[in-house]
Amino acid sequence: MNRIDKKFEALKGEGHKALITFITAGDPDIETTYDIVLALEEAGSDIIELGIPYSDPLADGPTIQASSQRALNKGVKIPDIMKIVEKIRLKSDIPLVYLVYYNSIFKYGIQKFLKESKDVGIDGLIIPDLPIEERKDILEEADKYDIYLIPLVAPTSKERIKLITENGKGFVYCVSITGVTGAREDIETDIEEYMKTVSQYTNMPKAIGFGISTPEMAKKLKDFSDGIIVGSALVERIAKGYNKSEMLQEVKSFVSSLKEVL
């Protein structure tokens, strides 16, 4: 059984919602990524998204763009990230998914990327620039390695949600807004209505992401979903330029404060 399914099942049993956290692999450096992942788990994160840094992250706002650029400047490559995941797996069984732009996979080699991901213990992929119509090539390989391609829906998806979530695996990533990633103070979408529409089409666990920056927002949204995704607000804290132990402390206290309300 895929770790993602196991996690959602366990949370359901406990009556809790999932806290999904995003960080960019290699920001500030690849060794620290290892420490951050373990800190996230310790503080209560249920699933971790590792962003593979990319030169043209068009679904991301300024915070994650800058984070991606810092990692690229450090010269982080895909094999370095695979190695760190392998090392994390010696210590942790937390579900891990890559947030990866399609060209990284395509150019690296679809089969090679999926095989290596499986070998190091990756459970799923979130590909923000690969709509359902373009997924055929990769879906076959992903199924072969039991790696989940997490389906994404947006407030503009409407009747497309049916097509997108059909045969979907893991959870549905419900993009909260029309827009790119980035911490916001408020979400303008009518989340209740939106999530009702999503639920009409699928029984899969649903997680809401984009813009969520505080425990208060997480608390407001959790009743409409099975999980909350936090990225930019966390990346901002990592980037603040504390020394490493202070940064890890800050990350942990932020994640605990989110977990508490879920």
């Binding site: 679904a59 996979i105 709509p131 029309t178």
Partner: protein, 391 residues
């Protein structure tokens, strides 16, 4: 496999814009069949942009080179100084038809930005142009023109601060303002239906050129040559000749300081297949698919990708893609200015440079059409700087 040219093209975009692309495709197909819409488009091309543009026999240049006859398709004589307006008028009319109040666009050299700002001013639409910080420095004149026309020019600092980053930022804006905003894409790039739509709005160049050469020479040309960045002027002039197999189609990319130096934008010569800006095509990228910095003296050609239909024309051997360096383009820029009294855009000078290399090796019976895609006024600062002249 909708919107594919062989294996190229497609729709590699965030889910948020998928329904908008589907709607755009549907509206575009309807508009193309709508006589009133096409009549309005042709009206503005004629009355506002000044079409048809002449197919000019460059007699002095031909004699100087001593070979094939060279004709210039004078897209530089369009309103706003380049072919870009053809496509913009089509897309703005479509935006109007779809009741969009705001248009956005990316721009490299600034020509597409100026054309979009111009049409937006005329049709009373809110307009925001995304332009790389580096390009803003290189093309200050066009930045000022856009502002005069009432557009907001937003500098893009991310990535390399050039055209590809301006496209990223325009896509991000579109994702955010998807409900009221129309993205006027400037070249035959991006997700389907843009490459097809932009080609269809640019094919007027080739349709006219074909009719004009038949009138003047009674036959089709042997060569059609155009510069290729994203490739809209080239696609526009190539398209109506694709079925005429005897006509050789040649796209000229920017070789910058030379394709062996790494400082160039010769996507077809040195690139590999990948995905950028919603399309599968040839890209300049590293082994992990990260897009590499590109360079050319001409801001309109330094794009790390190329339209997917060009990728297909290359792979199916229907068109040939070559390149010209900064130095060769500059020489052609000077030559045309002095022999014909026409100052070409640096982009177009790349096409001209290759034609000037080719012509002396051909016989006097051969005919070459060069697409003179834009005028060079915007480039005089750049050229003066290279020549060491203070303005």
């Amino acid at each position: 496999m909708n919107g594919r040219f062989g294996r190229f093209g497609g729709q590699y975009v965030p889910e948020t814009v998928m329904n908008a692309l589907i709607e755009l495709e549907r509206e575009f197909e309807k508009a193309k069949q709508d006589k009133d819409f096409m009549e309005e488009y042709r009206y503005y091309l004629r009355e506002y942009s000044g079409r048809p543009t002449p197919l000019y026999y460059a007699e002095n240049l031909t004699k100087k080179l001593g070979g094939a006859k060279i004709y210039l398709k004078r897209e530089d004589l369009n309103h706003t100084g380049a072919h870009k307006i053809n496509n913009v008028l089509g897309q703005i009319l479509l935006a109007k038809r779809m009741n969009k109040k705001r248009v956005i666009a990316e721009t490299g050299a600034g020509q597409h930005g100026v054309a979009t700002a111009t049409a937006a001013a005329m049709f009373g639409m809110e307009c925001e142009i995304f332009m790389g910080e580096e390009d803003i420095k290189r093309q200050s004149l066009n930045v000022f023109r856009m502002k005069l026309l009432g557009a907001k020019v937003t500098p893009v600092k991310s990535g390399t601060g050039t055209l590809k980053d301006a496209v990223n930022e325009a896509i991000r804006d579109w994702v955010t303002n998807i409900n009221d905003t129309f993205y006027v894409m400037g070249s035959v790039v991006g997700p389907h239906p843009y490459p097809t739509m932009v080609r269809d709005f640019q094919r007027v160049i080739g349709d006219e050129a074909k009719e004009q050469i038949l009138q003047k020479e009674g036959r089709l040309p042997d060569y059609v040559i155009a510069c290729v960045g994203g490739g809209s002027n080239a696609m526009g002039i190539f398209y109506p000749f694709i079925e005429d197999k005897e006509v050789k189609l040649i796209g000229v990319e920017a070789a910058g300081e030379g394709i062996e130096t790494g400082k160039h934008a010769a996507t077809m010569a040195k690139g590999s297949v990948g995905v950028l800006h919603g399309m599968m095509t040839y890209l300049l990228q590293d082994e992990e698919g990260r897009i590499m910095p590109v360079y050319s003296i001409s801001a309109g050609l330094d794009y790390p990708g190329v339209g997917p239909e060009h990728a297909f024309l290359k792979e199916s051997n229907r068109a040939q893609y070559v390149y010209a360096t900064d130095e060769e383009a500059l020489a052609a820029f000077m030559d045309l200015s002095q022999t014909e009294g026409i100052i070409p855009a640096l982009e177009s000078a790349h096409a001209l440079a290759y034609a000037m290399k080719l012509a002396p090796n051909l016989s006097e019976d051969n005919i070459i059409i060069v697409n003179l895609s834009g005028r060079g006024d915007k480039d005089v600062n750049t050229v003066a700087k290279v020549l060491g002249v203070e303005l």
